[in-house]
């Protein structure tokens, strides 16, 4: 799990530059005493909703051996996701047989 993303850093930098006295991003709600900050529009970082997959053999040519992946095995079927790729998407809406799931990063 990563806890922030590059686009957010840019968004925050623009908040910081906007005013002489930086106010920070707007708070949309408070949960358990801690604010939920809004830093980007929903979907600004595009989650993958209709993922497509390649075979391991095809993937092996595109992947570095040490490239970090997240992997799941459901009903005997294995799916892997490059974490470098997930940096730009954060969420993949996936399904194996009857199990709908989201790989999140």
């Amino acid at each position: 799990m990563r806890t922030l993303f590059f686009s957010v850093m840019i968004a925050l930098a623009s908040f910081a530059q906007a005013e002489e006295a930086p106010k920070g991003p707007p708070t949309v709600a408070v949960v358990d005493g801690e604010p939920i900050y809004k830093v980007l529009e929903p979907g600004a970082i595009p989650a993958i909703e209709n993922p497509t997959f390649v075979t391991g053999e095809a993937a092996d040519g595109q992947m570095k051996p040490g490239e970090p992946v997240m992997g799941v095995v459901i009903d005997g079927e294995a799916h892997a996701y490059s974490l470098w790729q997930l940096d730009a998407h954060e969420i993949v809406n996936d399904q194996i047989k009857g199990t709908a799931f989201a790989a999140t990063w």
Binding site: L4, V39, A44, A47, F53, L83
Partner: protein, 229 residues
């Protein structure tokens, strides 16, 4: 982290809300617009507030180790050549922890230390890389339950409830490198938690999801976490 995205009979499509809570991702489902904490898997705002997503086991490892252990795997197609992380600077900088100041950080180890986190309800453990080297079995308790954590054949760390057939199992590697429990001498697969041979053959240990996570983030969500190093 991997979550089932069906709640009751409703299948959700999860997107990135653009919001942050406790320095971590808030997801939004397109169907109801509810806001979901990425770390807790729980709706914290919106029509589905209070609902939870079931976390599913997953492994974080390298492509080479994953592919070797799962030769029939498929890989999410890469839309363009992605050859490194966008965030390497962030990963490499020991001072950068979250966007805002980290709150409630527990200072047992550097905030940017990567740990393997396991939680069950309010109980949590964080294991260091040193603790989970090859052929090591970490036995500990989460609440009342006995748990083991160990490295699977694909390099990912797995955790299992060390209980089967109504008894708590004391698991370890024998001299041949086979994972066994010393009560029934059953041989277990360390990657899947399935009993291979022996009295309990065919039994599946309950698997607990393991999260690869920075210490500052884990300790922020689970300030009472046990550290195993």
């Amino acid at each position: 982290m991997v979550y089932a995205r069906t709640v009751g009979t409703k299948k959700l499509t999860l997107i990135v809300s653009g919001m942050l809570w406790r320095d971590s991702l808030i997801m939004m489902d397109k169907e109801s617009g509810s806001l979901w904490s990425h770390v807790l898997g729980k709706a914290v705002k919106g029509p589905m507030e209070g609902s939870t997503l079931e976390m599913l086991p997953s492994a974080q490892t390298t492509w080479a180790a994953w592919y070797k252990a799962h030769p029939k795997t498929k890989l999410l197609a890469k839309s363009k050549a992605v050859t490194s992380s966008h965030y390497q600077g962030y990963f490499d900088d020991p001072e950068k922890m979250g966007i805002f100041r980290a709150r409630r950080i527990v200072t047992q180890m550097p905030g940017k230390a990567l740990v393997w986190g396991v939680a069950q309800g309010p109980h949590a453990a964080a294991l260091t890389d040193e603790a989970v080297g090859a052929s090591k079995v970490n036995a500990f308790s989460l609440g009342d339950g006995a748990v083991i954590a160990l490295e699977g054949a694909d390099g990912g760390v797995r955790a299992f409830v060390a209980r089967a057939d109504g008894r708590t199992l004391n698991l370890g590697y024998d001299e041949k490198g086979i994972l066994r429990d010393d009560t029934t001498s059953t041989a277990w697969n360390p990657t899947t938690g399935v009993a291979l041979r022996g009295k309990l053959a065919g039994t599946q240990l309950e698997e607990l999801p393991v999260t690869r996570v920075y210490w500052f983030a884990w300790s922020s969500f689970y300030p009472n976490t046990v550290v195993i190093d």
